[in-house]
Amino acid sequence: MASVTYRHVWKRWGDVVAVRDFNLAIADKEFMVYVGPSGCGKSTSLRLLAGLEEISEGEILIGDRVVNDVPPKDRDIAMVFQSYALYPHMTVYDNMAFGLKLRKTPKAEIDRRVKEAAEILGITQFLDRKPKALSGGQRQRVAVGRAIVRNPQVFLFDEPLSNLDAKLRVQTRAEITKLWQRLGTTFIYVTHDQVEAMTMATRIAVMKDGVLQQVDTPQHLYNKPGNVFVAGFIGSPSMNFFDVTLVEADGKMYVDGGTFRLEVSPKHLEVARKYKGQQVIFGVRPEDIQAKQYAPPGISPAHLKAKVDVTELMGNEIFCYLLTGKKSFLARLDPRTEAHPGDTIELTVNMDNIHFFDPKTEQRLN
């Protein structure tokens, strides 16, 4: 059993609260990703679990054991650091064997495990080299290898891909996922990159200012973000938000943004009725806005006109910054769309995928 449980965990440095009442249950063999902007407490939460920081209040369990007072080395965890943290004066082999040697593992066993890990990671030919003779990606593998040989119950990754270039990052991302499938161990992974979170996690914990915002599967998190922050953080480019009023006319509900009026689809009618006449935050993702003639079939369409401000051609699509009144928003348009700055174009919004948030609490309404 290698589940991990946080129970009302707080971390304070003097008056500064880094982690506030953190509650989370991570199941065995889960790939949990902590994501959030820098300074949100995600790394601190991980370091609390690793035992590198002391818990101010609450308790953390690995399996059934409370580990608050257990030193890092006895928690049966392994951690991969952003900076790799390799021992510069040791060879790759010694780097990987260091932890096992300290645990008085028999020599033959060390040798077997190191070679096996090197095999998995494809670094067998580098075993005699010092870290400085390796590239960033290779160092990263050594750092992962050092974690693997220990055969821990829980793997912790603290932004392990941040120092790699974009291409290598994508590649390593897939490799870590593969590794997780192969090892069948609990992985806890910290990143500020929501793409990494979306692509790797079985569940994502979104954090902000030391507070856990939402924990869910990537799909659910994307489709039903729990509050404005999560909605804006998950997804790239991020969701558009409008301050609107929900109004009723001719027995239909409309989202009234002043310069536009969009009919609420049947799917969201019930919620819209409930908040009839009230101000809400209306969220719609850029890919749910299309030029009228390229709108996909099978959606609940609603139309608005907007002025093109700036366009960015991405090849497979156009990122189009639009203006309705003074409000700017972004749409991912079909590349065939004729959109030139200054033009006014007709757009179709997919009203099935819309989000309502309370303007005061910023919590999700639908």
Binding site: A50, P72, S83, Y87, P88, F98, L102, P131
Partner: protein
């Protein structure tokens, strides 16, 4: 930035570089010229050292006697004399009378039986070198010295060898002990959490400003009571104490700048503080350890005051600096021995410096964190 501004900036940089280079050259000259002089003097004979400067070994123009004669008794030494084409009184000849062709006529010796020399300017070098100074300094109890007149005299040699060994016996432990203690302390101050850490460290750093002279008498009193006076252990402890604040401070600066991740990684790998210290901190701190080792070694090797006070005058345990100082005192004018002795004492520090210098290379940490 405009082209003008760029060129102005370039101009400023080049002047700055000129200034830096000129200053450096000046500093190097100021430091090396006396040392070269000392080195040259140490190879010159006693007579040469006492009569001319070390720079006369280089080619230079000097008066050389080309003709010498004894004026006859008929020459009136109290009146105006006519000698070798020059005319003047005795006082004028004593000062030297320059002839129109550039030669000069000089009276050497006293009025009655003095001689007259005709000299001219010539390029000369004074290359009368000898190893006798070194042989005498290093060569044991007695030594035969050849005098300029061909006779030999037996001289009491300085016997540096025992002083040299004593210096080593004092210096090596007095270098190693403080480094070991300071490295432990620096690690503790940098990476271990304990109450009063900040205060203790501040106190250690504050000790840097305490001059060691004010501690000499109290320590001496304690040593007398503990029977440590005049022993090597006593001077090791003294140097350790005086060296520790700086050592702790320097090593703290280095050790606290080691990447935190490496230590945390080792913690998770299961290392104790002691293991981290011996397996990670010490190997990674070699540049800092080496640079402090050089400082401490030079300081102890060249120290005279502490040795004088805690070792005292016992000839069996005297160190090099004491022996050299004694040479000045007991031999007064024996510069030739002093120069050789000084150079012998400089030899080991030079070797230490050049052999440890390679540890100063930066980038020992290259490869541990990103890159």
């Amino acid at each position: 930035m405009t082209a003008q501004a760029v060129s102005r900036k370039k101009h400023g940089v080049s002047w700055g570089q000129v200034f830096v280079n000129v200053t450096l050259i000046l500093l190097v000259l100021i430091w090396t010229i006396p040392t070269i002089g000392l080195l040259i003097s140490s190879f010159r004979t006693r007579f040469d050292i006492q009569t001319s400067g070390w720079w006369t070994v280089f080619p230079h123009r000097d008066w050389v006697t080309v003709e010498e004669f004894q004026p006859g008794p008929e020459v009136d030494r109290d009146g105006v004399m006519n000698l070798a084409g020059a005319q003047g009184t005795f006082e004028e000849f004593r000062a030297g009378i320059t002839l129109p062709d550039g030669r000069r006529v000089l009276w050497i010796g006293n009025k009655r039986i003095g001689r007259v020399a005709v000299q001219e300017r010539q390029w000369v070098m004074n290359t009368n070198f000898t190893l006798e100074n070194y042989q005498e300094v290093l060569g044991g109890k007695t030594f035969e010295v050849k005098q300029p007149d061909g006779s030999t005299i037996t001289v009491q040699g300085s016997d540096f060898s025992s002083a040299f060994i004593n210096s080593l016996i004092v210096t090596l432990p007095a270098t190693v002990i403080p480094i070991l203690i300071a490295a432990f302390a620096a690690y503790g101050f940098a990476w271990m959490k304990f109450p009063g850490r900040r205060l203790l460290f501040t106190m250690v750093v504050a000790l840097l400003v305490v001059p060691l002279q004010i501690a000499l008498v109290p320590i001496l009193k304690d040593y007398v009571r503990l029977n440590l006076n005049g022993t090597f252990l006593g001077i090791w402890l003294a140097h350790t104490g005086f060296g520790l604040p700086l050592a702790t401070y320097l090593l703290f600066n280095y050790i606290s700048s080691l990447p935190r991740d490496i230590l945390e990684s080792a913690f998770i790998d299961g290392a104790s503080h002691f293991t981290i210290f011996t397996r990670l901190i010490l190997p990674l701190s070699v540049p800092a350890l080496a640079s402090f080792a050089i400082f401490q070694f030079l300081w102890v090797w060249n120290d005279y005051l502490v040795a004088l006070i805690f070792i005292g005058a016992s000839p069996d345990s005297q160190v090099l600096t004491q022996r050299i100082a004694e040479m000045v005192g007991s031999r007064g004018n024996d510069w030739h021995l002093l120069t050789a002795g000084a150079f012998v004492s400089m030899l080991l520090p030079l070797i230490v410096f050049f052999s440890l210098q390679r540890f100063f290379v930066r980038g020992l940490l290259a490869g541990s964190v990103k890159g």
